[in-house]
């Protein structure tokens, strides 16, 4: 009975979604011309190389045009980490240590992880440092680094993150982001506005504050995700 009802509801939703979607032609150009933009997308494409000198338009959007969103997004992750900590917090008694849930892993995995771990970290760093040039950026790089840390946590039972360091990284990165934003206000421009030389397109040092912010975001995301994983992994097994 319930199943029938749900299927009926789903059918109606499918139909109602189909109707509007059928009017949106797949692959059609809705942006308008770049020379005379009628949508924000086209405008961003037309302005990014000249005004910001950033090769990756998406980075430009994420960090600059819609940098405010990213600030919020970073806050969401920060909140998730904080909330997770508060939800899963348990008072520890004397002599009780958090135990990683993973069973001792094989020698092969341990050796492999040790080998790969630095490589992953470097890859992550590369991804967010070159965020304004190539695909990728702070979020992707941060996530990759977190994955590397995860690998280590899974392979080595006694691999522990230093919480103080994590907190410092996380906070400092967040503060950097916010401070750069406020610095824009201080120098007489608007919040998060670029106040540094933009350099030339496709240069590593181009795009003004964009790479700096993205690197801060990278560190922050990495620290937060690692924190989340650490909290989850250190749950005492039932």
């Amino acid at each position: 009975m319930r199943k029938l009802l749900v299927l009926f509801l789903l059918a109606v939703i499918a139909f109602s979604l189909y109707k509007p979607l059928s009017t949106i032609e797949f692959g059609a150009d809705r942006m308008g011309s770049i020379e005379n933009p009628t949508t924000v997308g086209a405008y961003y494409l037309s302005k990014t190389p000249s005004e910001l000198s950033v090769a990756n338009v998406i980075t430009a959007i994420v960090v600059n045009y819609r940098g405010f969103d990213t600030l919020g997004e970073v806050s969401v992750l920060f909140l998730a980490a904080t909330g997770l900590g508060s939800i899963l917090y348990r008072r520890r008694k004397e002599g009780e240590h958090s135990i990683s849930i993973s069973k001792p892993s094989s020698q092969l995995l341990q050796a492999g992880s040790k080998l790969i771990y630095p490589a992953i970290l470097v890859l992550g760093a590369y991804v967010f440092i070159h965020g304004h040039l190539t695909p990728g950026g702070g979020f992707q790089g941060g996530a990759i680094i977190a994955t590397g840390i995860l690998l280590m946590m899974m392979s080595y039972k006694d691999f522990h993150l230093n919480h103080t360091v994590l907190t410092w990284i996380e906070s400092l990165a967040g503060i950097t982001f916010a401070t750069i934003g406020i610095a824009g206000l201080i120098v007489g421009k608007t919040f998060l506005e670029n106040f540094m030389p933009i350099g030339t397109l496709n240069d590593l040092f181009s795009g003004g504050i964009i790479p700096i912010i993205y690197i801060a975001v990278g560190f922050k995301v990495a620290a937060e995700l690692a924190g989340v994983l650490d909290t989850l992994l250190s749950i005492k097994e039932k």
Binding site: L17, L21, R30, T39, S50, V57, R66, L77, F139, L201
Partner: protein, 128 residues
Amino acid sequence: MENIDFNQILSIAIYGSAVGLILIGLYAVLMKKHLTKIIIGLSIIDAGIHLLFIAIGYISNGTSPIFSEKGISLVSEGTKMVDPVPQALVLTAIVIGFGVTAVALSLVIRLYRHHQTARIDQIKTLKW
């Protein structure tokens, strides 16, 4: 071969799979009793919407919105770049979705600790 409308097929495939993901996710949320399964359902819905958004930004034969060495010249050549805005937004949405999933799962762990079950119909001490 010429009279096959690729766009038609593509639109059915992409929109269809996006809507399909949304519906499958919804089904899981509404019918499955296990909390973890419900959250899987939620993340499937999210995935469907992300796919839909990217599909809406896509332009046939477009390129990714990254300027290569040739730089601005690409624009004038007539090759189009796909709309970058949906991509930026989906990027944000994915990260936010991850945050929500993490919090949700931590709640599942907590609920399991308290109730010794993860079935949603067993967890209703608060009602009326």
